[in-house]
């Protein structure tokens, strides 16, 4: 099949400006698009990570502050009473006291190590405290060992003491970090390093529980759960899970029941895990949308550029096409001519775009701490632009092919 590339190429080189402009647009678009889509995908993946909770849509929590003047012991009795009230709400699967919630971006982080003689700590983990109900409330999956037994949960007056627990649950990721490839249940983990390090015994390993900050990377999977029924501080937090689909109703009833149960007014802050997830990933999602919008606009502008240029050449070369048709070229020959011409230009653009895309990615990696661009984005982008180039040029090319040979003899 005679592609007649050489004549097309030499014709292009004689009138360089238009083709160069189109190629530049394709190159710029490809470079930006490949990087933008890569970032969008990355962010979407980060935001889709599971938190480890069995039913996020049904889990919520109250931060309660009772404006009474109770003593710490009275506060303890009050907390127990409130938990009973909450558990009695119809549709409530489980309720318990917690110190912090995953994805809430507010909580305690501590350094842990496998051996106190280490130079540096092994990892930083989110430290959750529970009154024993966390595994049930969050629906966590135990892959090793067991949950806390009731007698392992001490009642701790936080105004008086800072007790280090004796037993602890850790996440699978943390177990892998501390003791790679070995079972963790029964081993001793240490808070901190050196002489000050305090040991706790690991009684169970949960498959997954994200940290409060849900950082990018493996750090988000490092969490520990310690047993402690704490009282004495002015506020406390209750985590609850309703039956599937019942969250809003159960939430309202729980609030009403809780407020009714107290003689003194209370400040109640109600939050849901769903809401926390949205807050945590809001900026990432906003960036994703912005990148997607600009990508779509990029494509539109480039397409309009290709179509515009192709139309212009068709108009400019009417006479030339007329001559060719008069000399015997078929419609399909003219069409093929224009399509091949367009593919050549687009290829030039794609080639430039791949180089530019890699260069842009280098810049992003070095200056903005982004990640390396996998080749598949550039290849996919290149294919897409070839396809776009052909499609965009098709219309004008067909119009060109429909030029009547009589054009050749007219002298306008």
């Amino acid at each position: 099949m005679n592609m007649e590339i050489r004549p097309i190429l030499s014709a292009l080189l004689r009138n360089k400006t238009g083709p160069i402009l189109v190629a530049m647009q394709v190159a710029l678009s490809l470079a930006i698009l490949a990087n933008a889509l890569h970032i969008v995908n990355e962010r979407r993946e980060v935001a889709a990570r599971p938190s480890g909770l069995a039913d996020e849509a049904a889990t919520f929590y109250f931060s309660v502050r009772n404006l009474n003047q109770d003593t710490p012991d009275q506060k303890l009795a009050g907390i127990k009473r409130e938990l009973e009230v909450l558990r009695a709400v119809p549709g409530m699967v489980s309720a318990g006291q917690v110190s912090q919630m995953p994805l809430s971006q507010s909580g305690t982080t501590s350094s842990v190590s496998a051996d106190p003689r280490q130079e540096r700590e092994s990892a930083y983990t989110s430290v959750y405290a529970t009154d024993g109900a966390m595994v049930k409330t969050f629906g966590l999956k135990l892959v090793e060992g067991r949950d806390f037994l009731p007698h392992e949960v001490p009642e701790v007056n936080q105004t008086l003491e800072n007790r280090i627990p004796e037993t602890i649950l850790i996440t699978k990721a943390l177990a892998e970090k501390l003791w790679p490839g070995a079972p963790a249940a029964g081993r001793t983990m240490y808070f901190g390093v050196g002489n000050e390090a305090r040991g706790v015994q690991v009684v169970g390993v949960v498959e997954r529980l994200q940290s409060v900050h849900a950082e990018v990377g493996v750090a988000a999977e490092y969490s520990v759960v310690m047993p402690e029924f704490s009282y004495g501080r002015p506020g406390t937090t209750y985590a609850m899970r309703a039956e599937a689909g019942q969250r809003d109703r159960v939430m309202q009833e729980a609030e009403r029941a809780l407020r009714k149960s107290s003689a003194t007014p209370m400040i109640l802050r109600i939050k849901t895990v769903e809401g926390d997830r949205q807050d945590r990933y809001r900026a990432d999602m906003a960036l994703s949308w912005m990148l997607v919008t600009v990508s779509v606009l990029l494509l539109l502008v480039t397409c309009s550029g290709i179509v515009g240029m192709a139309s212009l050449w068709v108009t400019q070369r009417r006479k030339q096409i007329g001559v060719r048709r008069a000399l015997g070229a078929r419609r399909i020959d003219i069409l093929r001519y224009f399509i091949v011409e367009n593919v050549l230009i687009t290829s030039g653009g794609v080639f430039g775009g791949v180089l530019l895309g890699v260069g842009l990615n280098q810049l992003l990696v070095s200056k903005l701490e982004m990640t390396r661009l996998p080749l598949v984005y550039l290849i996919g982008g290149a294919l897409m632009f070839w396809a776009i180039g052909i499609l965009a040029a098709y219309g004008p090319a067909w119009r060109a092919a429909s030029t009547s040979p009589a054009m050749a003899t007219r002298s306008t």
Binding site: Q25, A36, L67, E119, N162
Partner: protein, 435 residues
Amino acid sequence: MFGYYFKLGLRSLRRNRYLTALMVLTLAVGVAASVSTLTILHAMSGDPIPSKSDRMFVPFIDNGQPDGYIPGSDHIDMQMSYKDATNLLRAKPGDRGTAIYGTGMPIEPPRTDIPAFTGFGLAPTRDFFAMFEAPFLHGQPWSVEDETRGANVVVLGRAVAEKMFGEANPVGQRLRMGGDPLTVVGVLDEWNPMPRYYKLIGSGPATGEDFMIPFTTAVRRELPAYGSVSCSESRDSGFASLLASECTWIQLWIETRSSMDRSEMHALLENYASEQRKLGRLKRQAPVELYNVMEWMEKQKVVGNDTRLSAWLAFGFLVLCLVNTVGLLLAKFSVRASEVGIRRALGASRGDIFRQFLIETGVVGLAGGVLGLALAFGALALIGMESKSMAAVARMDWQMLALTFVMSIVASLVAGLLPTWRACQVTPAIQLKSQ
């Protein structure tokens, strides 16, 4: 001739509506994207207090454990411990200084129709208001006496004051906060420095603090520290042990008389640090660090990578739109070769043609600027929907407005250079011949 060419430009735009519309739209979208991302970048990286940003400093003294110390590595938390903060304030190293920590208290409104809620505020020392030039709507900061005694006084934010007391001046009234009545001594006016640079670590609400309470009062009442508290060693429970520990939770600011005093200040702080090392309190051989306002914002990464990425991307898009416009202009001007030919034949010089067509592109730029401005407003509104802190930043100011037009016109002129030059090269004879 400018007016004449301007009118010609307008007329020619109207002649070829679709092409013009496409050009204007492409330019407008490119300009809108760039301006809206630039506005956010500008707001986030602008100097919040240009009159004194080079003579307000945040000192950092490393009071971490000696084990695991790697010189030059990132610091976990850059706030101060209670001991360092109070020692340094007492030593008066500059003209003024203030220690701040974030806290919260339940507020019980005097009106029974509003339920109690948790207010978030700051506990600064008195000089805070003068140092950061916080504007007062009513009243004034608490007195030196109040500060020394740790009196039960409070300065309210405007929103909270209006919520509690309506439009009346509440100075002198008492408000029940955290179980005790506090006397209102002042109300802060609307104060939205962008960003809230005075407390970047563990920052408070994006819309501003609900209240300000004297540092000494907050410590006396053992108000909990909200925001970041970082401890490198274990400590007992209780507020007293927090004060005695090496946990960092206080933001310290020092103001000097002039920016020249920086090296003096640094020397003073180094002296203090070596003293503390001799006393055995500071265990690391770490240098003291000093940051002025802009350096502090840079260190705390106020302008995140995502904001920069957005701005770069928008510029790349603008460049694409420019290249596209060059192509469209080439197309537009090439069909008017005969017009150029006639003008040249009638005596127009190449320069005249150049000027005429360049002004025409300028008109396109102007139209693009108007549309781009409208689109930029829309884009900023969309971006502002993301969060309250974004909404505070995503606002157009006069500089950015002017920039929109300048950018649009300059962009169109740059895009028009090549096509205009091409148009000038038309030889009159050929055009006149082929009628």
